[in-house]
Symmetry: C2
Subunit: 307 residues, 2 copies
């Protein structure tokens, strides 16, 4: 079944038809695009991260929370192969949160901002009345590279499905430390024609389903090909972890088989690109297991609004 | 004493020097400005609104919360005399918040979006783990009108200080229903040269102090001139309410006396413009009381981070 989050997003999208000249990309992609005059445009993404959901301040530092909040938005810039430009950050502070806590948070924000050349240009600081957890919202702007922004909606039957890096078990470590694939996305877009791309934030099975639904196509994933991470191998079911775990923040993209070959030949690490399956004409997702059976693959990732 | 919020903002600003070509306006104004290529630029503002602080969902509806969240950002666009362009909204949902609640919130967002021609183009929906209050973060983009964006930093000794509308007692009603002064700001900027402008979100005394500190100037406010709202008159001390109450979301601006005269002659309602005092050469703020005494005026408005 379609995640509840996606049904809500679709409802929001249907409420207003945006003028496609001013808003070439609207609700439902990793970023929206807004045209400014004849030659310029800007893309925008927003993310809300909550203590207890996206990080746990009993074990994670505020520096890590600040880094992750920025990195999650940088990953959206990567998902469309765009160039990060600037960020604003709004925070809701629990009682007792003072200057020292804000400086720790800022250190993490600045670490990501410096590394990806995406400065903090503004923000808002507010405090809870009462004892409620820390929340941080990052909104990021990016701009087009030479390529057009790569959307979720272009997958074609026969396309190779690829991912960067390795998948699963992000909860152990990677979700606080990941490197958004900004450079990799731009290199991919410069090298080949990509039909559809997004970042894996809610799990491969859930996010691939989103790409498939945009075009009414299906997919077959090869279990033998999946780049299962070392941390996924610590889980009881490593394959399921690689398919369903959220917050990998790797790139998921589809392209014509010839282009896939060209990309793999031209690609030089350090981040791996792995073909993991094919886009199929018929709707539905399938998994070819290690013993060669083809079984249905359900979107099993994270649904932020599950009933 | 300087509000703690302002000290933190100053610290954030000092951490990184932004490239002034790409970022003509950075941290510390109502919006930041980001240049895109030769001819285009975009401005950005972000605000976090919390249940229990900025509205109370025991008495306010989600529709009102959605409207207020958008209107607060629209007021930032007005504060710089810029044209609203698009908004993104991120929300943190308490347990039990479902489709109906999101639709009510959306109705309020859409009411403001439609009225001010500033569509919702994207967002993020996430849920608290555990029982925590609703939070909503709006980030808004605007673009330059024919005028340059009006900043907080241009006040000059001798300037007339003006406000739109009436002040104080916003908590009774206006803070949920206010009309951001987008049109009025643009008309003012088209009519005269304004030296400094912002919107009154934390109270006249606190926000005027911010304008003064930017240039090391002072101010004298005339109690007899203050447009005290009907709701401020319901308070024990109406004058204090007009000086210190937050969330009026009126415009506060300074301009040369001749320009002030020209503006008042040219201005046609329905929103009033009232001269309330003068910018002085010496630092510090003063109030001329109704009996003609001149007494010190402290920034007595809302400090989001008060110790």
């Amino acid at each position: 079944m379609k995640p509840r989050e996606d049904r809500i997003t679709a409802w929001f999208k249907d409420q207003r038809r945006l003028d496609p000249v001013t808003f070439p990309i609207g609700i439902g992609d990793d970023m929206a695009e807004i045209r400014l005059g004849q030659a310029a445009s800007v893309l925008i993404t927003t993310d809300m991260l909550l203590d207890g959901s996206h990080f746990d301040l009993r074990t994670a530092t505020l520096e890590q929370a600040g880094y992750k909040a920025m990195a999650a938005s940088l990953s959206d810039c990567a998902a469309m192969a765009t160039i990060p430009l600037a960020a604003v950050v709004a925070v809701a502070l629990p009682p007792g949160f003072g200057t020292e806590q804000l400086k720790a948070l800022h250190a993490g924000i600045a670490r990501a901002a410096d590394k990806y050349d995406c400065p903090l240009v503004g923000g808002d600081i507010t405090s809870w009345k009462g004892s409620h957890p820390f929340a941080v919202s990052v909104t990021m702007l990016s701009r087009r590279a030479d390529n057009a922004p790569i959307r979720r909606c272009g997958a074609q039957a026969g396309d190779v499905i690829c991912v960067t890096g390795s998948l699963g078990g992000s909860v152990y470590r990677k979700h606080l430390e990941f490197e958004p694939r900004v450079k990799e996305a731009l290199r991919i877009a410069q090298t080949v024609t990509v039909h559809a791309m997004m970042d894996i934030s809610d799990g491969l099975s859930t996010d691939l389903n989103r790409i498939c639904e945009q075009r009414g196509v299906g997919a077959v994933i090869e279990a033998a090909s999946l780049p299962i991470s070392d941390d996924a191998r610590r889980q009881p079911d490593p394959l399921k972890a690689a398919l369903d775990d959220g917050e990998d923040f790797e790139l998921l993209f589809t392209l014509a088989p010839d282009e896939g070959k060209r990309l793999l030949q031209a690609w030089e690490g350090p981040v791996a690109i792995t073909p993991v399956g094919r886009i199929a004409e018929a709707e539905g997702m399938w998994l070819r297991t290690l013993d060669g059976q083809v079984v249905p693959l359900e979107p099993g990732g994270y649904d932020h609004l599950k009933d």
